[in-house]
Amino acid sequence: MSRPLTTVLTTALAGVAFLALTGAVSSAPAAKGRAPAASSGKANSIAELVARYDSSSCVECHQDAHDQWARSVHSRSIFGTGRTAATFMTAIRNGLMTWPSSGVKTEKDVKVEHLMGCAKCHLPQLADATDNVAQEIVTTIQEWQGAVEEDDEARIGKAKDTLTSLNINCLVCHNRNAIIHKWTDGYPQKDAVYGSQDGEHADPKFPKMAKSAVMGESILCGQCHGQGPNFELPNPTQCATGYGSYLFAYIPEGGDKTCQDCHMRESGLGHDMQSYRSEVMAKKALDMHVVAQGVFWRDNRELRPKATVRVELTNRTGHGLPDG
């Protein structure tokens, strides 16, 4: 037999980049005396905001969860791979600065409200900060971009450290965004961490454990992983639509798993929530079955051999693929 020739079939799923984020900003005002941990006054600098959401005391007892989280995109939610930070600036320059009624003519006009289109999910606690913090974020991203252009490693590292100090950490999911139905379940308490049970908690800063009704539910993740346009914003944005797909495509097909089932428990990744770049998630997500056979096709009187290839793709996730 002669040497086989090679043909490559490329099936591409074009898609958009997304972050695996959990948590979102609450637009509801805090009730007096029952304020979310983060809403006792506004942070006036990045350092203050970081301090207010300081989760370092969690590490002592939850080292594994911390290490898992540190590998996830949640740990660098406004920096990402650098592309996320750059997209903040694109949103300002190509969006806000071009829209006549945004109030933004230059980067110096950017306030918290202007960043919330991104920060709703990438940094929900920005809602608990002053416009000075919004400005500091913008100038830090500009500093990072300038340093990258000049290949100045020291400045790159410093700016990156500042930007990655802002993230979706323990307190965002286990306090700030742990309660969704605040009129039903009350507002997050400043001294409590929310999880699967009530009780005492061996952390002087957070002496109480409290049960979150939604910590194991998909709706917790749905706060950020989106249904479409965020209509509560003056200029709705849209990033992830995965939760919408979960609700309106996966559930109607008989799906019965939660986000946490697949992304945390079955994957074995715990707090290292991953998506398509993770080998374990990619393996779980999809079945590909290929059947190929050779046949002769007849064009008038001419016989031509051809390969017929059938490709079956089965999406085993709880949302469209790709989506996020």
């Binding site: 090679t6 099936t11 799923l13 074009a14 190509n94 944005t237 999406n315």
Partner: protein, 99 residues
């Protein structure tokens, strides 16, 4: 993929999150369903002339190696962070004698 609509109007795709609102198309694989696609690939051939000057078509191989690759293109093009999800190979063989 869910193809976002630019600012929720018209038939144009939006790219930056600040201009995405709604969908104009969704080509993603639906959850819990199987999507089948078929491809037909003719074997390569070579045309030559015989001693009488007639065109004679020959097929250099009785086998064709087919590689099926499933790519995820986060930014829509192969040259920007393309990610290979699956890859399978099959070899298709035909008998030129017809048997």
């Amino acid at each position: 993929m869910p193809v976002p609509q630019q600012l929720g109007r018209g038939n144009r795709m939006g790219r930056g999150p600040y201009e995405k609102s709604g969908l104009v198309q969704d080509s993603s694989l639906p959850p819990l369903r199987t999507v089948t696609s078929s491809y037909e690939i003719f074997f390569p051939f070579e045309d030559g002339e015989n001693d009488e000057g007639d065109t004679v078509r020959t097929f250099p191989s009785e086998s064709l190696a087919v590689e099926v690759k499933l790519w995820y293109l986060p930014y829509g093009t192969m040259d920007d962070d393309a990610f290979l999800w699956r890859e399978e190979k099959r070899t298709v063989t035909v008998s030129m004698s017809g048997k």
